[in-house]
């Protein structure tokens, strides 16, 4: 295991992870920050592979790199005027750095100083099957609670993010008026068209 390729993989993936995270700290543009976050998450997925956790690595790429980053990009694009808030918080930056340095010193001390009693056994094989079996046998109750939690989060996110019906109708009609260059369009006409000449107007 101490061959050159493993060393190269570990150090390059570690540099990718920490470098991406540091670039998030520096960058003011949130879109760039999410791209750097994707790079950092890909580095973590590669580190999972060096730890022989292939199923978790695939899940990491699917959920973090695929889903969560796209969700964040959508949220950034839906809040366009919030870009002026992207600067670092200088008022609390100093105390935050102090707290973070204290946490770093203590965690690094514990990580290096403790005798963890690490054993190196052979890695698990057929991890997807083992994880799936233990999820529906031993961990069935947390599994069901997780399902309920995900459903509740989905419904809650939709309920929070959707606009009220009348707001949405007024917004859509004003948008359509802007597009047609005619500011005097009555919203009622757009919502309830008297003449169904246009197929898209009834939506």
């Amino acid at each position: 295991m101490s061959d050159f390729g493993f060393h190269l993989a570990f150090w390059s993936l570690a540099a990718m992870t920490l470098g991406g995270a540091s670039m998030i700290m520096i960058s003011r543009n949130l879109i760039h920050a999410v791209i750097w976050l994707v790079m950092s998450m890909l580095g973590v997925a590669g580190l999972y592979l060096t730890l022989s956790a292939d199923f978790i690595a695939v899940v990491q790429v699917l959920i973090y790199v695929g889903a969560i980053s796209v969700l964040m990009l959508f949220a950034i694009m839906l809040t366009p005027r919030a870009e002026r808030d992207n600067s670092q918080n200088m008022k609390t930056g100093g105390p935050a750095a102090l707290v973070v340095i204290l946490v770093m010193i203590s965690t690094l001390w514990v990580a290096i100083d403790t005798d963890w009693g690490a054993v190196r056994e052979a890695a698990l094989t057929e991890q997807a099957r083992l994880i799936g079996e233990s999820l529906i046998k031993h961990y069935i109750l947390p599994f069901e609670i997780g399902a309920v939690l995900l459903t509740a989060a989905l419904v809650g996110a939709i309920a929070l993010a959707r606009q009220d019906d009348e707001d949405a109708a007024v917004h859509a009609s004003s948008l359509q008026a802007e597009l047609e260059g005619d500011a005097s369009v009555d919203p009622v006409d757009v919502v309830d068209p008297p003449i169904p000449s246009d197929g898209e107007a009834g939506s």
């Binding site: 295991m1 101490s2 570990f10 920490l18 995270a21 998030i24 700290m25 920050a33 999410v34 976050l37 973590v44 580190l47 730890l51 022989s52 956790a53 199923f55 978790i56 899940v59 990491q60 959920i63 973090y64 969560i68 964040m72 949220a75 839906l78 809040t79 005027r81 919030a82 808030d85 992207n86 670092q88 918080n89 008022k91 935050a96 750095a97 973070v100 946490v103 965690t107 690094l108 290096i112 963890w116 690490a118 054993v119 190196r120 056994e121 698990l124 991890q127 994880i131 233990s134 999820l135 961990y139 947390p142 997780g146 939690l149 995900l150 509740a152 989060a153 989905l154 996110a157 929070l160």
Partner: protein, 104 residues
């Protein structure tokens, strides 16, 4: 030098600290969420490292634990971003300094 458990633990600790600093110092609420995601990833990395360098039953249960952490993190991000959207719609800002509705 053999790359062992301590290397991964130090890497996880550094990643956690960077995420912690981002979560504390960003003004934009989405930036704070990015920092929280980095912290969760650091914890997952530490758990997987313990899974690799532990006994067989520890290995399996830590990986199941990581699956649960990822599921809860996905739910947290979905609700958090929806909340940021609602705050932006009402206040035209998502700065964590300027959303002071609960300030007495």
């Amino acid at each position: 030098m053999i790359i062992g458990l301590e290397h991964y633990l130090v890497l996880g600790a550094l990643l956690f600290c960077i995420g912690f600093f981002i979560a504390l110092s960003k003004k934009n609420a989405i930036g704070v969420l990015i920092g929280v995601e980095l912290m969760l990833n650091a914890v997952n990395l530490t758990l997987i490292a313990f899974s690799r360098f532990g006994s067989a039953e520890v290995a399996l249960s830590t990986q199941v634990f990581v699956v649960f952490i990822i599921a809860v993190a996905a739910a947290e991000v979905a609700v958090g971003l929806a909340l940021a959207l609602v705050v932006y719609r009402n206040r035209q800002t998502i700065s964590v300094d300027r959303t002071t509705l609960l300030k007495g």
